[in-house]
């Protein structure tokens, strides 16, 4: 790999990964989207409006917080938390939905659709749709509707129609299938806001570019607060949007190590997990080539994670490329370890993290003690944990 990083190529390839693998009906819509995106991402007026929305509506910049007590407790590297949980709607997802909604408006689309797993992206989409007065339909696996009831209610309050998806494993991948079917059917007036760095080109690059504000801010904040760049970055990876958002602005900073944390569920060795980069193989799903969880016949395997937002059998193609080139390391954390990470941060720092982010925190508890006290880790605290109270209470046998 050269020092200069300029992925993807014009057709959306990250090495062998990415690309456009969709049914013919979607091709014109994807071409239209790509042309609009390539135009507006360089348009000063669009970028000024986006910056203003991120500042005044989302509440950016999000703080970079030195978790001193937790760092001291672990006795190793200094841990800084990038507080995406403090964004409007409580997670990093809104960075992307604000951007794509502005694009939808510029393209004259009147109807927004989205898929959601944990419900964070669905809420973030319903939020921007409400603000712009656009019709909004969110597809959500029936299993996720059950375990994320609070977010379902939030979306409904915001005026969105939430469609429970009953096909397949009734989780995020099936919601994505159903959203694609809707898009094919209503292609003229509908804009599909994908919530992660997956899907056909230009989605992986576009969502990355909207999320890269996380890493740009964190890089500058770290220099301002600590006088230098961090030594390591840690973020959870489901589809991988919060991780790419943090990693991307550091890719050319070769000394900065990157750790993407996948969900090991019951443990990678049990087969009941959501860790395609750690234990999957390359294939094609949802419009791009990437690492997947598939059996020998190429059928997609059902995934398992306590965290609905990580319960996805694929991963963004750029992560596949960063894995193969060795630029980023991909590790995994079990449900049990993630829960321990959840409690640790809550009790040590008075911050209740999302279960997704808890995977990154749990890995940090392993990584920090192996580093020196003058070294720095930035962890992406991608979302807040309010939505997970029900799941955690159920898991720990608590009732109110």
């Amino acid at each position: 790999m050269t020092d200069k990083y300029d992925m993807p190529d014009a057709r959306g390839h990250f090495g062998p990964y990415g690309g456009i693998f969709v049914a013919e009906t979607l091709m014109p819509a994807i071409t239209e989207l790509n042309e609009a995106y390539q135009h507006y991402i360089k348009d000063p007026e669009f970028l000024a409006e986006l910056d203003a929305d991120l500042r005044d509506y989302v509440g950016r910049p999000s703080p970079l917080y030195h978790a001193q007590r937790w760092s001291d407790h672990l006795g190793g590297a200094q841990i800084y938390l990038k507080r995406e949980d403090l964004n409007h709607t409580g997670a990093h997802k809104v960075n992307n939905t604000v951007g794509q909604a502005l694009l939808a408006k510029r393209m004259g689309k009147t109807r927004i659709i989205a898929e959601t797993g944990a419900g964070q992206h669905g809420v973030a989409t319903a939020t921007v749709a409400a603000r712009l007065g656009l019709e909004c339909v969110v597809y959500m696996g029936a299993v996720d509707v059950e375990r994320q009831a609070l977010n379902v209610y939030r979306m409904k309050l915001l005026g969105a129609t939430v469609v429970p998806v009953q096909s397949g494993s009734k989780t995020l991948k099936d919601a994505l299938n159903e959203a694609l079917r809707d898009w094919v059917t209503n292609i003229d007036d509908t804009f599909y806001i994908i919530g992660t760095v997956a899907g056909p080109h230009p989605y992986p690059a576009m969502v990355r570019d909207f999320q890269a504000v996380i890493g740009r801010e964190a890089r500058q904040q770290c220099i301002d607060q600590a006088g230098r760049l961090p030594d390591a970055l840690v973020a959870c990876v489901g589809g991988g949007s919060n991780a790419i958002g943090l990693f991307y602005p550091f890719i050319e900073d070769k000394a900065v190590k990157m750790y993407g944390v996948e969900a090991a569920g019951d443990g990678v060795e049990t087969g009941r997990h959501s860790a395609p980069l750690c234990a999957g193989r390359p294939g094609v799903l949802h419009g791009n080539r990437t690492y997947l969880m598939a059996d020998d016949d190429g059928e997609i395997i059902e995934t398992h994670s306590i965290s609905a937002g990580l319960d996805y059998p694929g991963v963004g193609p750029e992560h596949a490329w960063l894995k193969d080139t060795g630029r980023a390391n991909y590790v995994n954390i079990t449900d049990t370890e993630a829960l321990a990470g959840f409690h640790t941060l809550t009790r040590m720092e008075g911050i209740i993290p999302a279960l997704e982010s808890s995977h990154a925190l749990a890995y940090t508890t392993k990584l920090a003690p192996t580093m020196r006290k003058d070294q720095i880790i930035i962890v992406n605290l991608s979302g807040r944990g309010d939505k997970d109270m029900h799941t955690i209470m159920q898991r720990e046998g608590i009732s109110l």
């Binding site: 057709r11 690309g19 456009i20 693998f21 969709v22 049914a23 013919e24 009906t25 091709m27 014109p28 819509a29 096909s167 397949g168 991948k173 099936d174 299938n177 694609l180 079917r181 094919v184 059917t185 209503n186 292609i187 003229d188 193989r281 390359p282 294939g283 094609v284 799903l285 949802h286 419009g287 080539r289 997947l292 598939a294 059996d295 020998d296 016949d297 190429g298 059928e299 997609i300």
Partner: protein
Amino acid sequence: MSRLSTKFAELKASGRKALIPFITAGDPYPEFTVPLLHEMVAAGADVIELGVPFSDPMADGPVIQRASERALSHHVGLRKVLSMAIEFRKTDQTTPLVLMGYLNPIEIMGYEDFANAAQRADVDGVLTVDLPPEESENCVALLRERGIDQIFLLAPNTTAERIQKMHQVGSGYLYYVSLKGVTGAGHLDTADVDQKLQLIRANTDLPVGVGFGVKDAETAQKIAAIADGVVVGSALISKIEANLDDPQQAKHEIIALLKSMRQAMDV
């Protein structure tokens, strides 16, 4: 000349149109499929599209999704479908057989292994829903070397430029999906299809099959009047779904529907 080219040339010479039924392999159970294929040929099918079940059929409506789920519950995947193709060929050496499905099973098997296996099974064409021409180069080359046609989809919003691209990389026939949407949806507008066919024909001389929305003898007749082939899928699979407790009845109804279509198309 491939079996598909031969078949379409013969049909053209006799002034007839191709009747192309689609069914999902292994639905409702594996042993049902090969005998049904033979009976469909006897009922007047010219080309068979055999669906390879996939866990995530993104371009399919509920009817074909459920067919995939039923087949997958019997573990019918790409390898099993290839073995069904071998069995079919034992007693039918003339009817073109096209495998239709999604790319991932082929990716996981590997393009070259798949091309070899398809050749061994004497498959005539491969239609991969989520493999547009831009990404198809490697796969098409391997299939072409083995005399297997790669069939591409055309949609109502496909441009002339893209039709030319399909013409370059595709062979056998092109499959025009007459509706924006998933399989099994909506109603067919013959005038729209006719108009689009003119654009398609201006850019390719490959035969064009039309599908999505073909439900009965009447729609089959209308499409046959303007296209080279009529594809019927969800309407057949609905018969399986309506008779899950009596698959022989399903077969009976499928054959009756195909015969009525054949008759209407040949008038």
